[in-house]
C-alpha cells in the first residue's frame, strides 16, 4: 500500500488528473512553437521575469479560488459568491490601510475574517436552511458586490502601503510572493485533508450525505467549514488582486472568476456531483485556464471572439476525460487499422 508507485497512482486518481496535465502540456507545447519568447526567463532586479512567471503570478488568484472551490464541490455544492467575496476583502483591506492607522498584521486578518464569516453564512444557508447551493451563494454573489461598493463608496480606492503592495507584487526567493502563498495554501490544505480525517468527512458528505449523518458525522459542520474555507481562499485571492493593481476595484474585481474556478476544479478531476476530490488537479486546471488566457493575449486573438477557443478547450478536456469517448475513438482507430 505504501510503495511510491501506488501512491503516485492514487494521486493521479484514475487518470483524471493526467488529462488536465496533458491539456496543459499541449497548450505549453503550442506556445513553445508559435509564441516567440514564451519560455524566455531572465533575472531582473533579483527575481525571475518572463511570461511563464506571469502565468503563475496572474493565475494565483484562480488557483486559490480553485482550492476552496474544490472542497465545496467535493461536498456536492458550488460557491458562486467567490468573486464578490474577493471584492469585499480587497475593499476592506484597502479602506483600512488608507483610512486608519491599523497595522497590516491586523488589517489582513480582519479582511479574511470578514470573508470567512460570509462564507460560513453561505454554509448556513446551504446546511441549516437547506437552500440549494447555486441559489444560496447567488444571493451573496449579488449582494456581496453591493457590500464591497458600500465599503469603498463606489470608488476605486488606491493605496501605496509597502507591505500590502508586497503581497501581490513582491518576490520571495526570486519567485513571485503570490506563488509562495499558493504553494503554502496547497500544502497546508493537503495536509489538513489527508493527515486528518477532514478529507474523509468531506468526501463522505459529498458522496452520500444521509449515510454520513447516520455514521455520526455532523454534516452541517462539514458544510459550514468548507464554505468558510472557500471564503478564506476568496478573501486571500481578493487581497492579492487588490495588491496587484494597488487599488480596490470593488465593482469589477473577480467578475466571472467563479466560473474559471469551477472549470479548474472539474477539469482537475473533481466531479460536480461531489465525493472524491483532487487538490493538485484543481491547481493544474487553474494553470490551464490562465495559460490559455495569456496565450490568447499574446497571439492577438480578437478579444470579442476570445471565448470561442476557451469553449473548445473546455469541451476537448471534457471529452478526453470521458471514458466513453476514449473507447469510441479507440474504436475508430481500431477499425481503420483493420481495413
Amino acid at each position: 500500500m505504501n510503495d511510491p508507485l501506488s501512491k503516485l497512482k492514487e494521486w493521479f486518481q484514475g487518470g483524471s488528473l493526467m488529462w488536465a496535465l496533458l491539456g496543459l502540456l499541449t497548450l505549453l507545447a503550442y506556445d513553445f512553437v508559435f509564441v516567440d519568447g514564451f519560455f524566455r526567463l531572465e533575472v531582473r532586479d533579483g527575481h525571475l521575469y518572463g511570461t511563464v512567471i506571469d502565468i503563475l503570478n496572474q493565475g494565483s488568484k484562480t488557483m486559490l479560488l480553485a482550492l476552496g472551490m474544490t472542497l465545496v464541490i467535493a461536498t456536492g455544492g458550488v460557491d458562486l459568491s467567490v468573486g464578490s467575496l474577493m471584492a469585499i476583502s480587497g475593499a476592506l483591506a484597502a479602506v483600512l490601510v488608507t483610512q486608519t492607522e491599523l497595522s497590516l498584521a491586523l488589517v489582513i486578518p480582519l479582511a479574511l475574517t470578514a470573508t470567512v464569516l460570509l462564507g460560513a453564512f453561505n454554509g448556513m444557508l446551504v446546511s441549516v436552511a437547506g437552500i440549494q447551493p447555486i441559489v444560496a451563494t447567488l444571493i451573496l454573489m449579488v449582494g456581496g458586490r453591493g457590500i464591497a461598493m458600500l465599503i469603498t463608496g463606489g470608488q476605486i480606492v488606491t493605496f501605496e502601503h509597502t507591505g500590502f503592495v508586497f503581497l501581490g507584487n513582491g518576490h520571495f526567493l526570486g519567485i513571485p510572493f503570490t506563488l509562495t502563498l499558493v504553494l503554502l495554501m496547497l500544502i497546508a490544505t493537503s495536509l489538513l485533508m489527508r493527515r486528518t480525517a477532514c478529507g474523509l468527512f468531506v468526501e463522505a458528505v459529498g458522496d452520500n450525505e444521509t449515510a454520513s449523518r447516520f455514521s455520526g458525522i455532523s454534516t452541517w459542520t462539514v458544510k459550514l467549514s468548507v464554505y468558510g474555507f472557500s471564503g478564506l481562499c476568496a478573501g486571500l485571492a481578493g487581497l492579492i488582486a487588490a495588491s496587484n493593481i494597488k487599488a480596490a476595484d470593488s465593482s469589477r474585481v473577480g467578475e466571472m472568476m467563479e466560473l474559471d474556478a469551477i472549470f479548474a476544479v472539474v477539469v482537475g478531476g473533481t466531479a460536480l456531483t461531489g465525493g472524491r476530490f483532487n487538490l493538485l488537479g484543481s491547481i493544474i486546471g487553474a494553470l490551464l485556464i490562465q495559460t490559455l488566457t495569456t496565450t490568447m493575449i499574446t497571439q492577438g486573438v480578437p478579444p470579442a471572439i476570445a471565448p470561442v477557443p476557451k469553449a473548445i478547450v473546455i469541451v476537448a478536456v471534457c471529452l478526453l476525460q470521458s471514458e466513453k469517448f476514449r473507447t469510441e475513438v479507440a474504436g475508430w482507430f481500431g477499425r481503420r487499422a483493420n481495413t
Partner: protein, 198 residues
C-alpha cells in the same frame, strides 16, 4: 427514532435509568447505540470511497476530525473484519460500490462492530442480498448475541426472525400487537399475531 433521525411525537427514553433526548445520530452513537439502515444504498454505503474508509467512518466520526486513526490501526481493523466477516474483496482499497450487496452489508456491519456498541439496531440487514451472505449475516447476529451484545433485529422475513431472536415484538400499523419470548417463538405464533389482533 431511537437513533435520533426522527423526532418522537410522544413518549420518553431512558438509558441506564437516565432519561435522555437523542436528536442526532451523534448522540445516539455516544450512548453506545448503532443503527444499520434498511436502505443500504441511500443511508448506508458511501459508494466511491474504499472499503477501508467506509469501515472506519463511524469510528473516525466519534473521534472527531483531527484525531485521525493511524494508518496501521486502520489496516489492522480492515484485515480483522475482512477475515472475520469473510468479506470477498481483492483488498481494502477497493471502492465499496464495486462489491456485491452482501459484501457491502458486511462492511457496514463491520463499521458498527468496530464501535463495539452496547446495542445495535439492524433494519432488514438481509434484504436484497444473496443466500450465502444472508446465512453468514444471520450466523454473525447469533454470535453477537452469544457475546452479550444487545441486538434489535428488524425484519419482515419470518424465518430468519424465528431463527435469530430471543424475544420478538410484533408491530403492525405502528402499534405493538404482541410479544413472544423463548420457546413461544414460532412462525405460526407470529403469523397469528400479525393476522388477527384483538
Amino acid at each position: 427514532m431511537l437513533f435520533g433521525i426522527d423526532v418522537a411525537d410522544s413518549g420518553s427514553l431512558q438509558i441506564d435509568g437516565q432519561p435522555c433526548v437523542i436528536n442526532h445520530p451523534r448522540k445516539a452513537i455516544a450512548k453506545g447505540l448503532a443503527f444499520c439502515s434498511e436502505d443500504r444504498k441511500g443511508e448506508g454505503v458511501i459508494p466511491t470511497l474504499s472499503i477501508r474508509e467506509n469501515l472506519i467512518l463511524a469510528m473516525q466520526a466519534s473521534r472527531g476530525a483531527f484525531r485521525l486513526l493511524l494508518r496501521a490501526e486502520q489496516d489492522q481493523l480492515c484485515d480483522h473484519y475482512i477475515n472475520a466477516l469473510n468479506i470477498k474483496t481483492p483488498n481494502a482499497a477497493t471502492p465499496i460500490g464495486n462489491l456485491s450487496g452482501g459484501n457491502q452489508q458486511k462492511v457496514l456491519l463491520a463499521r458498527w462492530l468496530a464501535m463495539q456498541p452496547r446495542l445495535i439496531i439492524l433494519d432488514e440487514p438481509t434484504r436484497g442480498i444473496d443466500v450465502g451472505a444472508k446465512a453468514e449475516i444471520e450466523k454473525l447476529v447469533r454470535s453477537l448475541r452469544e457475546k452479550g451484545m444487545a441486538v434489535i433485529f428488524i425484519s419482515s422475513e419470518l424465518e430468519e426472525v424465528v431463527h435469530t431472536c430471543d424475544r420478538v415484538a410484533v408491530l403492525r400499523d405502528r402499534r405493538k400487537v404482541g410479544e413472544l419470548t423463548g420457546g413461544e417463538i414460532t412462525e405460526q405464533r407470529v403469523m397469528e399475531l400479525v393476522a388477527h389482533h384483538e
